[in-house]
């Protein structure tokens, strides 16, 4: 797959269809993959990678890159394509200046989970039919991909793209048995005290590194309210128990109805806080109260928080719902 | 109002659940009452006199035993005052007193006739005794 992509990207750069390519390149280690902009076929040849560690969602980089002259090529995994469509819907990215290449994806690997399996000294990885072959300094190890997948891939909702100009590889299907709200339901069934303890345990670890915000394709504000001294709620660092609550609730609220559930927030969190559970709570509530809605699925439907029905549920539904 | 009067008044109000202050003195209860002519104190007077605390007079009068509990006054009161409930409360306040049962069981045989349904006896027992 990687080679097909490299070939196609080089072609398009060379024939002038696109002026740059957003893709992935490896850092110091093979699992240390970062998004990167390539401006020539040489750069592609040298650094471009597409491996089981390419979980990163590239769509957000379009906000900046697509403003540059010429077209920008972006590689989109199925989940990334929804983020891209949502950004187009919100006028953050100009559709015409993007050449979207859809690539197939069967799930990406979580290096920590691989390590948890006792695999050390990773220096290469390849995937075939759901089996990962990890090349380590101690020799090759094989692992089923399903056991070491990123959280966001384990609860993947669809392997089908929302939008693209060109497809490389095979288009996947929607995941029929996806149960991405399982954990949310589990939390909902707890007592308020248990929930509070759960979230205190998680959120109190927050170090306010802002990784979740910086990676989030819905968090593309010109200036975040939490960075704006004039907003009255600017905070740089978590200093006490409430601040991270405030930050994460407001962040989740700001992306409510816009979050495509790409799962990047949880992937990048250095403290392993399951932040996607906040977003999924909003998605679940929205689906239940206002009808199923998938951000990025189509360009026209009004996002639920800028829409209403006169027959919407009253806020008091929150009090009744919990009663047994 | 002395303390005892006030206690009885409060008791009657609590027992009946009636808010006498809602009455606007229209007299529709008394205009509607089928037992009006048999009563010394009429439904609207019950409301007013309970308000004023003159419950002794009401308890002593035959009127409390003449209410048919037909609920016409309750149904028709424009203010939702429910005079019948007040009359019942005054009557209960009376018959619940020691030795004040209106209907003694030994009196009953004399009052019966062949056709009289049980219903009448049990209802009367419930109305006239504690």
């Amino acid at each position: 797959m990687q080679e097909i992509m490299k070939k196609r990207a080089s072609e398009l750069l060379l024939d002038g269809t696109v002026s740059r390519v957003i893709g992935w390149k490896a850092g110091d280690f093979v699992y240390d993959i970062t998004p990167a902009v390539f401006e020539s076929a040489e750069e592609i040849e040298k650094d471009f990678v597409y491996t089981a560690f390419c979980g990163a969602n590239l769509s957000k980089y379009l906000v900046k890159e697509s403003k540059k002259p010429g077209k920008t090529l972006v590689f989109l995994k199925p989940c990334d394509s929804y983020s891209f469509a949502q950004l187009v819907k919100e006028h953050r990215v100009n559709r015409d200046s993007v050449y979207a290449v859809a690539v197939e994806c069967r799930g990406k690997a979580d290096v920590d989970k691989i390590r948890d399996c006792g695999v050390k000294g990773i220096c290469g990885i390849s995937e075939e039919n759901g089996t990962l072959t990890v090349d380590t300094v101690y020799g090759d190890k094989t692992l089923p991909l399903s056991e070491v997948m990123l959280e966001k891939c384990a609860s993947c909702k669809t392997r089908k793209h929302a939008v693209y100009d060109e497809l490389l590889g095979e288009e996947g299907e929607e995941v029929a048995d996806c149960d991405r709200f399982g954990k949310v339901r589990e939390l909902e069934s707890m007592t308020p005290e248990e929930r509070y303890e759960f979230w205190r345990g998680e959120l109190s670890r927050c170090i306010r590194c802002n990784a979740c915000r910086n990676v989030c394709p819905a968090c593309t504000c010109e200036k975040c309210v939490f960075d704006n001294d004039n907003s009255g709620i600017a905070q740089k660092a978590a200093a006490d128990s409430f601040e991270e609550n405030m930050f994460h609730i407001i962040r989740a609220f700001h992306v409510a109805g816009r979050c495509t559930d790409c799962g990047e927030c949880t992937r990048v969190c250095p403290q392993k806080i399951p932040l996607h559970l906040l977003n999924r709570k909003f998605i679940k509530d929205i689906n239940e109260l206002y009808g199923d809605y998938q951000a990025g699925a189509d360009p026209d439907t009004r996002p639920p928080l800028t829409d209403f029905r006169t027959t919407d549920a009253e806020p008091s539904i929150v009090y009744r719902r919990g009663e047994k | 109002m002395d303390r005892e009067t006030n206690r009885v008044r409060e008791q009657v109000l609590r027992m009946s659940g009636v808010n006498v202050l809602k009455c606007m003195r229209c007299g529709k209860c008394s205009g509607t009452c089928p037992s009006y002519e048999e009563m010394d104190y009429h439904p609207h007077e019950f409301v007013y006199m309970v308000e004023k605390g003159e419950i002794d007079k009401l308890m002593a009068s035959e009127s409390v035993y003449k209410c048919l509990t037909c609920f016409a006054c309750v149904e028709r009161c424009p203010r939702g005052v429910e005079p019948a409930k007040l009359i019942e409360a005054v009557r209960l306040e009376m018959v619940r007193k020691q030795g004040q049962n209106r209907l003694k069981p030994d009196r009953i045989p004399a009052l019966l006739d062949e056709e009289l349904p049980q219903q009448a006896i049990v209802t009367a027992m419930r109305k006239y005794t504690k």
């Binding site: 609730i249 709570k281 806020p315 929150v318 | -």
Partner: protein, 146 residues
């Protein structure tokens, strides 16, 4: 009504729409309908002006309960504002509940300009509910309580 800590006086912030509930509160005043002094009203032009940030901020600064009052659905002075507010608050309250915050600390009530009695009754009831819950310990910012 049993309240364990009779000393506890909750801090309640009420956001009131200028066109209905604020006028309803005025009417409650004009009619001398009593409700506890714990309730402090902030006037907003419409329930849709209330940002979830304001509500969290109130809790952060030590409020024990926050209530938002607006026009009845369908009667918004600006036609549609309260419909948006309704969705926003429903989701926000649900999220607070999800985080284990006592859901009774937050409330939305529709009170028209003519409903002075409803305003007073709502506030009495809300204060009672919040008083029973006691002090908000889960959301306050400890630096804000001296």
């Amino acid at each position: 009504m049993q309240v364990n800590n009779t000393e506890f006086k909750p801090k309640i912030v009420a956001f009131c729409c200028n066109w209905c509930s604020y006028a309803g509160a005025d009417l409650a005043g004009t009619n001398r309908l009593q409700y506890p002094a714990d309730v402090k009203i902030i006037r907003v032009p419409c329930s849709c002006r209330v940002n979830p940030i304001f509500i969290l901020r109130a809790f952060q600064r030590g409020a024990d309960g926050v209530i938002l009052c607006g026009c009845h659905p369908g009667d918004c002075h600006y036609t549609t504002g309260n419909y948006y507010a309704r969705r926003r608050m429903t989701l926000l309250f649900s999220m607070l509940d999800y985080l284990g915050i006592e859901k009774e600390r937050t409330r939305v009530e529709w009170v028209s300009a003519a409903e002075g009695a409803k305003f007073a009754a709502t506030m009495n009831e809300f204060v009672q509910t919040v008083t029973k819950l006691g002090r908000n310990r889960k959301l306050e910012d400890l630096r804000c309580r001296k």
